[in-house]
């Protein structure tokens, strides 16, 4: 078997989600090639070459791939994949979700989205219905196009290995789309999907101004900040903070849900956390059914108190 891993990276190193994808690839078993495509991303290719279990890095550096626009990027991937690969894997993050179904369509194969476990090289477990059911699915297609749920696989380590880095020429620009601009939430805090601690705020926080309570607590715990959909919809927090079925999937050591009721769509994004703490003034809130430690309290009282206690 020959596996192609599509790396998500920040030009200098591969992202955490790529490390989980590597682990899934190693569980499938076979010769692993990593594709690093982007603009000025040589350092990321060198980083990928050090990953445990990688035998080759394909490195394609061109302005065409700078923002990973789906049309040129999917064309590049499908061209490579069609030749020699049994599997093509990518993280189930924005990059993978946007690109891989297009790759699958170009190859006329099904995609297996967001796998949570590898049963065998052709059989995988994936959540459906917001994680309320787990489906075991088998695919006979070749190559098998798969996206990988980051929280379900350990992060593959960097080894001493030095895989060969092979230059790949850029493809053609189909000229269908153009990058215009982006507005990225910049933060000193750890990245949400890989943070050890996540503190999330919900509608109960009440306003954008009061969301600093959540941020303050996150900082005390050196954690990332998350939010429920209601909090994002109300403008208390940016869209990329949303945790849940249709937002980000997180599984930190510690998840603190503040003023969040615990709708299934929210639970879908955090119920695999190791320890869950819920602070809610309603003792009937469903979040308490999944919390390891529940505190019935007004958050405006409990959160400052918690910060003070942690400082002790």
């Amino acid at each position: 078997m020959a596996i192609l891993v599509i790396a998500d990276h920040d030009n200098t190193a591969v992202r955490q989600a790529t490390l989980s994808t590597m682990t899934a690839a190693r569980e499938i078993g076979g010769d692993i090639t990593v594709l690093i495509a982007g603009e000025n991303c040589r350092a990321a290719a060198d980083d990928a070459a050090k990953l445990e279990g990688v035998s080759k890095v394909l490195y394609c550096d061109s302005p065409l791939y700078g923002h990973h626009r789906a049309e040129p990027f999917a064309a590049l991937i499908s061209g490579i994949a069609a030749k020699d690969y049994s599997h093509v894997l990518a993280p189930a993050d924005t990059l993978g979700k946007n690109t891989m179904p297009r790759v699958a369509a170009l190859l006329d194969v099904a995609q297996v989205s967001d796998i949570a476990a590898v049963v065998s090289p052709d059989t995988f477990v994936r959540p459906i219905y917001a994680g309320n059911a787990m489906a075991t699915v088998q695919t006979a297609d070749t190559p098998k196009v798969i996206t990988v749920r980051g929280t379900s696989f350990d992060k593959a380590p960097h080894g001493s290995g030095a895989a060969t880095v092979e230059d790949l020429p850029a493809g053609e620009d189909p000229g269908l789309s153009k990058y215009v601009s982006s507005e990225l939430s910049s933060s000193e805090r750890p990245e949400l999907t890989s943070a050890r601690v996540v503190v999330s705020g919900g509608r109960g926080v009440g306003s954008m101004e009061d969301f600093h309570h959540i941020e303050g607590l996150a900082d005390k715990l050196s954690g990332a900040v998350g939010a429920s959909r209601a909090a994002v919809d109300a403008g208390y927090a940016p869209n990329d903070f949303q945790v849940g079925q249709t937002g980000k999937i997180v599984a930190p050591e510690l998840y603190v849900a503040v003023g969040i009721s615990g709708a299934i769509q929210h639970l879908a994004g955090m119920k695999d956390s190791k320890v869950i703490v819920a602070i809610n003034k309603d003792e009937e809130a469903p979040i308490f059914q999944v919390a390891d430690y529940g505190l019935v309290a007004d958050l405006f009282k409990a959160v400052p108190e918690l910060e003070a206690e942690l400082a002790k």
């Binding site: 924005t94 995609q111 219905y129 059911a133 699915v137 789309s177 990225l184 119920k271 190791k274 206690e309």
Partner: protein, 249 residues
């Protein structure tokens, strides 16, 4: 400008999902079904484009059993002009749905196809991207803003780190995210009016598309259950538990 909108009939998002005892799937008999919530957002956007004079016709398309008519009616009541039901009693997976949409696009020649970013039953998040790939059209996924210009559209997308704006040539495929708009409720008069709007039924076999499932579901199981823990009386106890019992801080 003609807009095609995808509307999938799914188990309502408020229904508590039960896995069937024989592990073949989830219980859908006697369960409330609704339009996929993302598709409501897609319909709303299409109708707003029509109200703004940008779109001339909005066609709602659903694929599946006869009952998908109801989902199409909902779209018509929201303001779509007509509906197409691609009727199939067999399971349709995203690649098959995308191929069927491609066949409809070739018939209807829309300038824009809007879909939800994700169906809340299979959670695949594939169909729109596949359709764009099959058509060789640009794609704009996870939309939070749509601005149609002259032969191009400026599209803002929700991405991992925030928002990204791209410009795509028309015709194009868009998949919508939660923040694009707030879908309207259909008013009673509009529900009545919708009853008179036409819905064309096309048998899946007549489109000449191979819709055989590619993925075989071997079994469907309950996820591992998480046990409720303890309630703590106050903040100091909470911190003590986190430090000395759970040892996570």
């Amino acid at each position: 400008m003609k807009v095609l909108v995808a509307v999938k009939r799914v188990v309502d998002y408020n229904v508590k999902i039960r896995v069937k005892a024989d592990k073949t799937g989830v219980e859908t008999a006697n369960v409330k079904m609704s339009m996929n919530p993302f598709d409501e957002i897609a319909v709303e956007e299409a109708v707003r484009l029509k109200e703004a004079g940008t779109a001339t016709e909005v066609i709602a398309v659903s694929m599946g059993p006869q009952q998908c008519q109801e989902t199409i009616r909902t779209a018509l009541a929201m303001g779509a002009d007509r509906g197409i039901l691609v009727k199939s009693d067999d399971e349709l997976q995203p690649l098959a749905v995308a191929k069927l949409f491609k066949a409809l696009v070739e018939k209807e020649t829309p300038d824009l196809v809007l879909l939800g970013k994700q169906a809340i039953d299979d959670d695949s998040n594939q169909t729109g991207q596949m359709l764009a790939g099959l058509l060789g059209w640009p794609q704009a996924t996870f939309l939070s803003k749509v601005a149609i210009g002259d032969g191009v559209a400026t599209m803002t997308r929700e991405i991992d780190g925030g928002l990204e704006t791209i410009e795509v040539k028309m015709p194009c495929v868009g998949t919508v995210d939660l923040r694009l708009n707030t879908p309207r409720y259909a008013s009673l008069p509009n529900i009545m009016k919708a009853k008179k709007k036409p819905i064309e039924t096309i048998e899946v076999g007549s489109l000449g598309v191979d819709v055989a499932p590619r993925l075989k579901t071997l079994k469907v199981e309950e996820p591992p259950e998480r046990q409720a823990g303890v309630m703590v009386p106050d903040v100091p106890t909470l911190v003590d538990k986190l430090r000395n019992e759970a040892k996570v801080i």
